[in-house]
Each structure stands twice: as structure tokens, then as C-alpha cells.
């Protein structure tokens, strides 16, 4: 079954042609590279764990959506182009931006062998293909970076928006917001003195801030903030030293 002279004959033929047999030479060496990647994944996974956020709450109005990192460019491309699209008054033709353009981009990728037909295979001698690749990489890179930046910006603005809508009626931060008398009448004859929040982070621990937001004491009404709003506010208020 496994004739020896046959395989020896073949080995010489392979050697003369400058090729190696798929099994075992090629596959085993490729496996070494592959198993290195799997081992790196294994070791990395020991030290860095994904985090689980709060359980999904459809009513949470405060949460800033974030896709997986490799979809940031999709979200940001539609955010940015959608903004200019509506500035130009083209909302009637949303389907062009949201359907036709993605379909064209996917088809351009699919049909690469049909628009890049010349026999030449060196990239620098294929100007159209090279240009398309540069366009693609710049597109992905720009919208990914912009998406991450934009998401960070929205997350940093969110506690300030929540403060304006939910807290600023009574409290102030660095003189902004609050009641100019420094006192609020909660019921006839009942007064509370909402503290200035400018230095909250030096006075209360994050756990105490969370406790006060979820189960307020001292006359503050329960705002029933959604979980994302609580966690953004805890981070924000404890950063105010």
C-alpha cells in the first residue's frame, strides 16, 4: 500500500522541481505558524477578559451605542455621510446612501478579478487596483478612527447632558445650574439645601455616589435614572475633585 520506492522516487522528483509535498512538510510547518497564533490567543485570553455590561434595558435612553471594533467604520460612515446627506436635503433618497452605495462597494470588492484583468500581477504596475486598495484602506482607517473618536466624545458629553436635564434644576457645578437661593422648597414649609457638586469626587466615593443616585437620602427625589445614566454619572461625578 505505501510503496517505499514510489515515495522515494517522488521525493527526488519534488526536490528537482523545487516543490515540497503538502503532507507532511508543508502542512506541519504551516501548522507551527497557526498553532503559534492559537497559543498567543490562549495566553492573551488568560490575562485579558471581555467585560459584561449591565443587562440589556430597551428603555435606557442614556446609553451611547458602540459596535464591535471592526464595525466602527460602518456606523461612522453612515453617521457622517447621513449628516451631510440630510444637510443637502436628500432624505427622500436615503435608500441611495443606505442601500445603493453599500451594494456598489460590496460589488466592487466582489468583481475585483473582472475589473483588474491585465496579466500583470505586481501591485505597483496595476495602478487602478493599487488606487482602489489605497482608497479602501484610507476609507476603513479614517472611519474607524473617527468612529472611535466620535464615540468617546459622545460618552464624555453624555453625563453633562444628563446633568443639564436631571440635576441642574437644583445642583450646580462650578456655578452652572442650581437654584440661585441655594434652597429648594420640596413641600410647603419643607426646605432642602442641594449641595454644590463641584468637588463631589473628593467628598464621596464612587460607591456612595451610586448609592445616592439609586436610593437618594436627604430630601433628593429619586430620579429613576436608567443604569447607563447612573454609571456615566458615577464616573463623571467622581472625576470632579
Amino acid at each position: 500500500m505505501y510503496e517505499h520506492d514510489h515515495s522515494e522516487h517522488k521525493a527526488k522528483e519534488y526536490h528537482d522541481k523545487g516543490v515540497v509535498p503538502f503532507w507532511p512538510e508543508h502542512l506541519l510547518k504551516e501548522m507551527v505558524v497557526g498553532l503559534t497564533a492559537v497559543a498567543a490567543l490562549f495566553v492573551f485570553s488568560i490575562f485579558v477578559h471581555p467585560t459584561l455590561g449591565h443587562i440589556a434595558d430597551p428603555a435606557d435612553w442614556a446609553y451611547v451605542p458602540a459596535p464591535d471594533w471592526y464595525f466602527y467604520w460602518v456606523q461612522n460612515f453612515f453617521d457622517v455621510s447621513g449628516f451631510y446627506w440630510s444637510e443637502l436635503g436628500l432624505t427622500k433618497f436615503d435608500w441611495i446612501l443606505m442601500f445603493l452605495i453599500p451594494v456598489i462597494l460590496i460589488l466592487a470588492l466582489y468583481t475585483a478579478p473582472f475589473w483588474d484583468r491585465a496579466r500583470e500581477r505586481r501591485l505597483l504596475k496595476r495602478p487602478v487596483a493599487f488606487g482602489m486598495m489605497l482608497f479602501g484602506l484610507t476609507f476603513l482607517g479614517y472611519f474607524t478612527a473617527n468612529g472611535i473618536y466620535n464615540h468617546d466624545y459622545l460618552v464624555s458629553q453624555e453625563p453633562i447632558n444628563i446633568f443639564r436635564t436631571s440635576c441642574a434644576n437644583c445642583h450646580s457645578i462650578q456655578g452652572l445650574g442650581g437654584n440661585n437661593k441655594g434652597v429648594v422648597e420640596t413641600a410647603p414649609g419643607q426646605f432642602v439645601y442641594p449641595p454644590d457638586l463641584t468637588h463631589t469626587g473628593s467628598i464621596l466615593s464612587p460607591a456612595q455616589i451610586e448609592q445616592q443616585l439609586v436610593n437618594p437620602v436627604g430630601g433628593m427625589p429619586n430620579l429613576h435614572l436608567p443604569p447607563a445614566a447612573v454609571s456615566y454619572m458615577v464616573d463623571y461625578l467622581s472625576s470632579l475633585k
Binding site: 505558524v33 477578559h49 455590561g53 430597551p58 458602540a66 459596535p67 501591485l123
Partner: protein, 223 residues
């Protein structure tokens, strides 16, 4: 003894011609990383395949403890992370594995594009490859919902809302994917089924085609 067992099986199944066909074919030496270190660029596809196998294994173990309904999806993910033996390691590997696959697939595709591998006679394999890329991205998108935390929920809400813009069938398509007007219990069980049943079947089919065509067309020479 071993030879006799192999011979006994082979007399009945005739696997050795098959095995010879799979194993015994020449591969150009310039793709072998031990001949030239720079040949590691030829390994990105193989590495992706190995990582996909790792995803299959970790995914199977995760499915033992995961429950796809709106209260238990989150709780069972928490249970896997906190109480299952090596659960956090499994979840972590599955999570970072998807990231690594996206990176490797991108590098693999760049290598194919850079070297003009998709040119005649390999056009069909490029079509299969782009389809595989879309399948892998769909894996990432559907898997992201399964922990059912806020990050997952709102990202899916944004992602699925894009299909509404498909002309004529947009609204219907949204309801087919989301299983209703909003992202909810039906979306979760649909995404779970897509992630663990539909997509693996599609992935294996297209990987089979991919490898068959590599075998038919061979590996490109160095220009």
C-alpha cells in the same frame, strides 16, 4: 498491528487513494516559512482556518451553558464567567478569537489582492473568498448580541436598523431579521440560531469550495 488495522479498514473503505489525493501533492517551496521567513504571508489563510477550528471548539463548550432567552442569556453568560470551570477562559478565547480572525482574514485578503492572486484562473475562488468574509462578519455581528448586555442590545438595534433602507422589502426584511417591530426575545433566539446553526453550515460549505479550488488551481508562483 497498526498496519493490519489500517489495511483492514482500507480494504473496506478505500481511503488511501483519497488520502493520497489530499496529502500527496506538490506545494511550491517559496510558500514554506522554513525555506524563507517572509513566506509567513502565505500562512494567513491557514492561520484563519485554525482559528476557525478553535472558535468551533470554544463555541461548542460555551453552548453547553448558554441559554438564548432574554433573562437567561445575560445570567448564563455571567454564570459562564463566574462559575463554569475555565468558563471565563473559554469566553475570552471565543471573544478575542473573533477579533484575531478578522485581523487574519484582512491580512489574508490583502495578500491575495497585493499579489494579484485572484486573476485568471482563480476568479471563482475570489468570489467564494469575499463570501467567506461576509459570512465571518455576520458571525461577528450575530455573536455580539448573544451576551444580551446593553452594549450588545444597542449595537444590534443600530445594525439591524440599516436593513430598513433596502428598497421595497426593507420593512419586511427588518421584521424577518428582528422577529418583530423591535429588537427583543425573538431577535435573540434568531441570532442564536443563525450564529450556531446557519452560519457554521454556510461557512463549512464555502470553506470546502475554497479549499477545493485552491487544490485545483494550485498556489501562485512568485510573480
Amino acid at each position: 498491528m497498526f498496519t493490519r488495522i489500517v489495511r483492514w479498514i482500507d480494504e473496506r473503505m478505500m481511503v488511501s487513494p483519497l488520502w493520497r489525493d489530499i496529502a500527496d501533492h506538490p506545494v511550491p517551496a517559496h510558500t514554506n516559512p522554513s525555506e524563507r521567513v517572509s513566506a509567513f504571508v502565505y500562512c494567513f489563510g491557514g492561520v484563519t482556518f485554525l482559528l476557525i477550528i478553535a472558535q468551533f471548539v470554544t463555541g461548542m463548550f460555551l453552548a453547553m451553558d448558554y441559554v438564548p432567552d432574554i433573562t437567561n442569556a445575560y445570567n448564563s453568560t455571567k454564570y459562564i464567567m463566574d462559575h463554569v470551570l475555565f468558563g471565563e477562559q473559554l469566553l475570552s478565547m471565543h471573544n478575542w478569537g473573533s477579533t484575531l480572525i478578522i485581523i487574519m482574514v484582512t491580512l489574508h485578503m490583502l495578500r491575495i489582492y497585493w499579489m494579484g492572486v485572484y486573476k485568471k484562473p482563480r476568479e471563482l475562488n475570489w468570489l467564494v473568498g469575499v463570501t467567506l468574509l461576509l459570512i465571518i462578519l455576520t458571525f461577528g455581528f450575530t455573536g455580539y448580541l448573544l451576551p444580551w448586555d446593553e452594549k450588545a442590545y444597542f449595537a444590534t438595534q443600530v445594525g439591524v436598523s440599516f436593513v430598513q433602507y433596502v428598497p421595497f422589502i426593507g420593512t419586511a426584511l427588518y421584521e424577518i431579521i428582528a422577529g418583530g417591530q423591535t429588537i427583543g426575545a425573538a431577535t435573540l433566539s434568531r441570532f442564536f440560531a443563525i450564529h450556531v446553526l446557519f452560519l457554521p453550515a454556510l461557512l463549512l460549505t464555502f470553506l470546502g469550495l475554497h479549499f477545493l479550488m485552491i487544490r485545483r488551481n494550485g498556489i501562485t508562483g512568485p510573480y
